[in-house]
């Protein structure tokens, strides 16, 4: 009898836990509604950080623009002369690495792309950061750019990258052949301010991802 009580208790606890968990996760993925507005804090406390999820995969609409990250550097040569490099298309390099690749690496497919998403989500249209996440995203994007420019040997022999600048180039995916839609094929640029390179930016292990 004692054991039956134990089993019943376990059944009750698990049933309640399952219902609460699924309810919380459901409310987390559901659109904003009466219940989530009233109990948003409780839902977030339950779901974050380990049960966070986002399944709006290509929804409500798939992305219809190619957003490329390009970067250039201000380099101090060994002679002391300061020059500015041309623009390096870092996303195009990712694209080339992905072409014909059955197993694209997260470094090629996600790193730069998601770092830019993170940056855009935490900055206003004047590139002003919002809060801690804004400054983190700036540091992150800068460090990726410094790493990539270093692999390109943008500084040249004996040169030092003093500052870097990032711009995005947004192009609409041309409408399908069978479609009558007309959209602009002119790229739109968004130029971010120059960022000074911090001393520890260049400590990045550059061998790590060299192909």
């Amino acid at each position: 009898m004692r054991y039956q009580v134990g089993a019943a208790l376990a059944l009750a606890v698990v049933a309640v836990a399952v219902c609460v968990h699924l309810g919380m996760v459901f409310l987390h993925v559901a659109p904003s509604n009466t219940v989530t507005k009233a109990h948003g804090k409780a839902i977030d406390d339950w779901v974050y950080p380990e049960f966070e999820q986002n399944w709006k995969l290509f929804a409500p609409n798939p992305l219809q623009q190619n957003i490329a990250v390009q970067a250039r550097a201000e380099v101090q040569a060994k002679s002391g002369e300061i020059r500015t490099t041309g623009w390096y298309d870092l996303s195009a390099e990712d694209g080339r690495a992905i072409d014909g690749n059955l197993l694209p690496s997260h470094t090629q497919q996600n790193e730069l792309r998601r770092a830019l998403d993170f940056f855009l989500a935490t900055h206003d249209s004047d590139n002003r950061p919002s809060g801690l996440r804004g400054s983190l995203s700036e540091n992150y994007l800068r460090r990726i750019v410094v790493l990539r420019l270093d692999r390109e040997d943008a500084a040249g022999k004996g040169g030092v990258v003093e500052q870097v600048q990032v711009r995005t180039r947004t192009t609409n995916v041309p409408p399908p052949k069978w479609s009558t839609e007309k959209i602009s094929d002119k790229p739109i640029y968004r130029v971010l301010p120059w960022w000074s390179v911090a001393t520890d930016d260049t400590d990045t292990d550059t061998d790590g991802g060299a192909e």
């Binding site: 089993a7 950080p49 609409n61």
Partner: protein, 407 residues
């Protein structure tokens, strides 16, 4: 009224007396651990750039974010390169051993710790596939996912046959298990006493401690209990927890499809039938531009695939009530994910989704698959000319007659 009581009591009997879906939980165990293992091996040359202390998302940046979101990651315990390498190798090892089903419960915990440590360390390099693995690695801990197709199952068979041969009452000592438990317990106490769990969200520490204590109770009761009842009670509790977790895993898969589908319905591109064209023409998701052009050369075909995707995703949870329709949709979704793996260059996302889908595969199919794999292996072994393995294995069936659930 009587009928209702009867069906409730039979449902309670079902979820208490056995851990349902032994083949389904085994196949997702193998699926998720293989996905993560292959991912870790593929990224091995890039591991430092993705998760290392000096990568672009370096230790210091990660530290600042984790101070705010309180996620668990063992990689924040030290910023040394050696510790990072150790954790990475441990994550590889844990996924391999979970794949084999060696000390399944313990390995499932280590697997979870490996997945969370790496993913929470660098949240901005992951995608949907990482998200699936993240959740499922936590849910797997609560399942008895090593009942079949595992080294644990093989050892259990051996113990049963050996135990019958030996004199009654004599026990077969499990030294490895005890040592493993003690070593990990020592590490757990050290980590907790060292304050490594301070400021961390309690989810992970609670799970790890609970499993560690439960394993101790299980062992003590198995050895010491004078009557059978305490052991039966523990077995029942294990079954209840397993069945609850299995239900959560299935519900989670349904939530993924439902969310993906219902949000798509609201999008103009999914409505006008061109949505599938666009990802195929994004530079980051088009490894085979020629193939993408070929696939999107017909507007009608693109529209059919676009509408088909939404219909299947929205409909899937409801088809679980009809076995046959469910199986058709399941085949369609697995095929679509296999295509996505190649065409959109998302192999690990697709593998994780196929692993999640396979929790809905019918038992009869999984058993046929298991027999087929066992025969293929036997043939390979025989061809190598070595002494054949001890005869074809008897079909495993831990679940008698009513085993056809939950599919």
């Amino acid at each position: 009224m009587n009928r209702l009581a009867l069906s409730v009591s039979s449902a309670i009997a079902r979820v208490t007396e056995s851990a349902l879906g032994p083949y389904q939980t085994a196949v997702i165990r193998i699926g998720f651990s293989a996905t993560w293992l292959l991912f870790l091996l593929r990224e091995f040359p890039h591991r430092e750039e993705l998760y290392g202390p000096d990568g672009p998302w370096n230790w210091d940046l990660a530290q600042q974010l984790i101070a705010v979101n309180h996620a668990f990651t063992a990689l924040m315990w030290s910023d040394s390169g050696g510790w990072f390498e150790f954790v990475y190798v441990l994550a590889v090892l844990a996924s391999f051993l979970l794949l084999l089903g060696w000390r399944t419960r313990t390995m499932s915990v280590l697997f979870m710790l490996g997945v969370l440590s790496l993913q929470n360390r660098s949240v901005f390099v992951g995608d949907g596939g990482d998200n699936v693995l993240h959740l499922m690695s936590v849910y797997l801990v609560f399942t008895r996912c090593g009942q079949v197709w595992s080294l644990d199952a093989r050892r259990a068979r051996w113990v049963r046959s050996e135990g019958a041969a030996r004199a009654r009452g004599e026990r077969i000592a499990d030294r490895v298990g005890v040592v493993l438990w003690a070593v990990l317990g020592f590490a757990l106490v050290a980590v907790t006493a060292g304050g490594r769990f301070d400021g961390v969200d309690p989810t992970v520490p609670v799970i790890v401690w609970l499993v560690w204590l439960a394993l101790a109770v299980w062992w003590v009761v198995g050895r010491r209990a004078k009557s059978a009842e305490p052991r039966i009670l523990l077995d029942v509790v294990g079954n209840i927890v397993h069945n609850g977790a299995l239900f959560v895993i299935m519900a989670e898969a349904c939530l993924i499809y439902a969310t993906a589908g219902w949000y798509k319905i609201q999008g103009s591109r999914w409505q006008d039938g061109t949505a599938v064209y666009y990802p195929l023409h994004l530079d980051y998701f088009s490894p085979w531009p020629g193939l993408a052009d070929l696939l999107s050369s017909s507007g009608t075909l693109v529209m059919l695939v676009t509408y088909g995707t939404v219909v299947v995703q929205v409909a899937f949870p409801f088809t679980l009530f009809n076995r046959r329709v469910k199986n058709v949709l399941l085949a369609a979704m697995m095929t679509e994910h296999a295509v996505i793996a190649v065409v959109l260059g998302l192999p690990f996302f697709s593998l994780a989704m196929i692993a999640a889908d396979s929790v809905f595969l019918p038992t009869s199919f999984l058993r046929r698959l298991g027999d087929w794999v066992a025969r293929a292996r036997a043939r390979v072994v025989a061809r190598r000319g070595r002494t054949p393995l001890p005869g074809p294995r008897a079909p495993e069936n831990p679940e008698p007659t009513h085993a056809n659930s939950p599919a």
